[in-house]
Amino acid sequence: MKFSKYSILFLLALLPQLLFKEYFLTLISTIIIGAIAGWFINEKRVFLKMLLVQFIFFSILFIVKRSSIFYLDQVMDNLELPYFLMPLFFIVFNSLNIAILFYFGYKLCKLIFRRMGTLEPQV
């Protein structure tokens, strides 16, 4: 039960980046999902777990969609940078970004409700 609740919230946080053309909506949605997670779960290493989930997810996504940015290889070539930096940059950035947005919402929720004295672990 606990596993599925975690899984749903972590997986839910992956969806906005697939849904919204407008980055601002992705950003807000991910933070809100993080905040909802902050209400429902009380777990250690939330940031690391989200980072890992997003890393695996985005790596697969990147491999599938790699061909749509093939022209960036030419940029790496022109700047005399190794090709592997491009996937590394995309994957690391996205892993960090979604994990940070999620964690921001999660932590903000915890902080607010702790200050209000109302937050008890909802597990």
Partner: protein
């Protein structure tokens, strides 16, 4: 403690969010660009093209992305071309229209403000709208053609998602296209091709140098120049106009902005009596700064009266270089000076002297939108002579003639429907700007050339310097002669940006340009009587620099010591070919640049003027001077070459070390573009390799009942970096490989068709 840790982690999260959301104009934020759906990863490379309906129109697209547009009506053909231009080049089109309207900063931010400051005060959007209204009344066929073209552009934008990464990178959305934007191309190209302003430098030469030195080092019209036309047509001059300034005192060393003088082009036509197969040949290779995408777009239009193949400029539905069913044509830049610069006498930065009276400057204010900054005000001062320009402590007024209304689009529209020499030159009689040399050939074995454009009448004796701003401006009068000729006795015609005629009329700043390329083309065309398509291709790829032989003549009177054995060997053995794998070409290019550097030093240090003479003029000047001066200059040239690399180091290099160039993406974003390797030639060769390069090469062979074409485009048809036709022709262009074009009114006869768009 836990609270502090939480606050610190929240602070760092917030910092990350701010940084990744920050839009450093003109670019989109890092977060938006790298996240999947909002960023670059989700832009599809393959597009499902949705065409609109109710049009009598079929477009077939070949394996290079070239569209073949078929319809019973010309207006539907225009619609089809608009649709294809939007599909492949909309960012480029929008860039051009926004630039000319002075709205670039709204898309690219503060860095584009100088561009808007130049363009906005000319109010070209207003002028274009007025011209369109005139066309609606006076040229309804053209008006309908432009309107349908725009509808085609907008039909693509409405029905399809524009999958160009540049819009994502710049966080921009495509705006709708209006018919008047098609007219803006003439001003855009005029800025690129007809905005020369070296009048201050020229005035300095006129003031400082005795005429015997001036005529050799900076000759306005050298006796040995190969003009485009036989030099017997006398242009009109108006002796009643005020004289230009004499002995102007420029307070300080005024230097105009850097002018790109490397742009140029080649075209030639050969009569059937000089060809092996008895077919007339027309060749063209315009030289421009190569970007990706290319400035030109290849297309075939098969309508009712409009049945043409060739190169269009995205944003305007015209074939500027190509052929129809009976005639072929090509262009080179006229390089006429269309800028009048007046030296003003001013007081308190607010008034100027005119006919003995102090007149206040007129002031206009324009508002421009700046991305990320809101709006900004531009203030422009004007005099009766033109826009005010301040350089250091000196005021000038400048009139740029192409800023007037231009009817070139109408002239080109009529030209591409011409069926013989008479209708061709009649159409170009109304051509305005930018001045172009139109080479001509037809299936009836007529060859010809028209040097088309509006040349402002200048005072008699004018030599390119400043005009007197204390007197009334020159009246807006233009030379009415049409410079043209056909079927010469020597059976060929060509242009390579040289003077059209030699008659004392001031055309432009040819006084500081070399004519080695001109002479080489003339020699080659004269020497051969069995020209074929193959040999014309070889000529377009020719990399012989005639300046080498000129320098060799100069050096023969000055034996070099053993330190310069490598240079001695160069002069003994080399054939002057600037091939990319040549060690001699590498050495010579350094030697040539040393000569140019020495010419500049001599001008600035000895003659005390800023403008360097051309290499040819400098060598001619030295040849007529004392042996001691020659020896001194020679020593400087050798020392400069020697200081670059030792003899041993030279021996290990090939010309490819310096001849490669970078073709930038149109956005000029760092890293975006292609390094083009193994390119030969230099600024003097037919296959030019300088700031400009041949953006395309075309050859048209006129047979009795058809015209065959062979073309090569530097780049590709698409302007989208994620498209397969973005740069797929670049290797062929670099290697000098041509493709055979397809020109037929039967769509079923086309080969290599990979896509068909049916609008019915």
């Amino acid at each position: 403690m836990r609270l502090i840790k939480a606050i610190i982690s929240l602070f760092f999260c917030l910092l990350w969010i701010i940084v990744t959301n920050y839009k450093s104009a003109p670019l989109n934020s890092l977060g938006a660009l790298l996240t999947y759906q909002s960023g670059l990863l989700s832009i599809p490379t393959d597009e499902q093209i949705i065409s609109s309906t109710n049009r009598d129109l079929v477009i077939k697209i070949d394996h290079f992305g070239i569209p073949y547009i078929f319809s019973e009506t010309d207006k539907d053909v225009a619609f089809g071309l608009g649709f294809m231009h939007a599909k492949d080049r909309y960012f480029q089109m929008e860039l051009m229209s926004k630039m000319v309207k002075g709205e670039l900063a709204g898309m690219f931010g503060p860095r584009a403000i100088p561009s808007d400051e130049f363009w906005k005060p000319y109010e070209f959007d207003q002028k274009a709208s007025e011209i369109l209204v005139e066309y609606e009344k006076n040229a309804p066929q053209l008006y309908a053609y432009l309107v349908n073209y725009s509808e085609g552009v907008n039909a693509y934008l409405e029905n399809n998602t524009l999958n160009d990464p540049l819009y994502t990178l710049f966080d921009a959305n495509p705006q709708i296209w209006k018919p008047e934007y098609c007219l803006m191309v003439t001003w855009y190209m005029s800025k690129n091709l007809a905005y020369y302003d070296l009048h201050s430098e020229r005035q300095e030469l006129l003031d400082q140098l005795p005429s015997e030195v001036l005529n050799i080092l900076y000759p306005m019209s050298p006796n040995d120049i190969k003009t485009i036309l036989p030099s017997k047509i006398i242009a009109e001059t108006n002796a009643t106009l005020p004289q230009p300034l004499e002995k102007v005192k420029l307070g300080s060393k005024i230097k105009s902005k850097e002018q790109n003088t490397d742009i140029g082009s080649n075209n030639w036509a050969i009569n059937s009596q000089k060809t092996k197969n008895g077919t007339t040949l027309v060749a063209n290779d315009p030289h421009l700064f190569i970007t990706l995408p290319n400035s030109f777009y290849e297309a075939n239009l098969m309508g009712d009266k409009i049945q043409v193949y060739g190169y269009t400029i995205p944003g305007v539905p015209l074939i500027v270089s190509g052929h129809n069913t009976t005639i072929a044509w090509g262009i080179t830049n006229g390089e006429w000076d269309l800028t009048d610069r007046y030296l003003l006498e001013t007081k308190a930065d607010s008034v100027y002297l005119l006919d003995g009276k102090w007149i206040p400057f007129e002031e206009d204010e324009y508002t421009i939108e700046v991305k990320g900054k809101g709006t900004e005000q531009i203030k422009i001062k004007r005099t009766v002579h033109g826009n005010l320009i301040q350089e250091k402590d000196q005021y000038f007024a400048q009139k740029w003639h192409p800023s007037e209304k231009s009817y070139s689009v109408k002239a080109l529209f009529e030209m591409m429907q011409a069926s013989h020499w008479g209708s061709f030159k009649d159409a170009l009689n109304n051509y305005d700007y930018p001045p172009q040399n139109f080479i001509y050939g037809d299936v009836n074995d007529t060859i010809g050339i028209v040097c088309a454009g509006k040349l402002p009448t200048k005072p008699k004796g004018y030599e390119g310097g400043l005009l007197d701003g204390t007197k009334a401006p020159l009246s807006n009068e233009y030379v009415s002669t049409q410079w043209e000729t056909k079927n010469p006795e020597h059976l060929y015609l060509f242009s390579a940006n040289q003077l059209p005629i030699q008659n004392g009329q001031y055309f432009g700043m040819h006084w500081h340009k070399d004519d080695y390329r001109v002479n080489h083309i003339d020699r080659l065309l004269k020497a051969k009587d069995d020209w074929t398509v193959q040999s014309i291709q070889e000529m377009q790829l020719d990399e012989v620099d005639l300046s080498f032989f000129h320098l060799k003549d100069f050096f023969q009177f000055h034996p070099l010591d053993s330190r310069y054995d490598h240079i001695t060997r160069l002069f003994e053995k080399w054939d002057g070919k600037m091939n990319t794998n040549s060690n001699a070409a590498y050495l010579y290019e350094h030697l040539r640049m040393s000569v140019e550097a020495e010419a500049k030093r001599y001008a600035q240090e000895v003659l005390q003027v800023q403008q360097a003479p051309s290499m040819k003029s400098f060598l001619n000047y030295l040849s007529q001077d004392t042996l001691s001066l020659q020896a001194t200059v020679l020593a400087n040239i050798l020392a400069r070459t020697d200081s670059l690399l030792s003899m041993e180091e030279f021996a290990q290099k090939t010309y490819s070390e310096t001849s490669d160039f970078f073709a930038y993406n149109l956005s000029f974003l760092p890293g975006f573009g292609h390094q083009i390797k193994d390119v030969g030639g230099n600024k003097n060769t037919i296959n030019m390799n300088a700031k400009a390069h041949p953006v395309f090469r075309s050859i048209y062979e006129m047979e009795k009942d058809q015209i065959k074409g062979y073309t090569s485009l530097a780049g590709g048809q698409s302007g989208k970096m994620n498209a397969k036709h973005y740069s797929d022709q670049m290797d062929n262009w670099r290697e000098g490989t041509y493709k055979s074009t397809q020109f037929t009114d039967d769509p079923t006869q086309l080969h290599h068709i990979i896509n068909t768009l049916n609008f019915k």
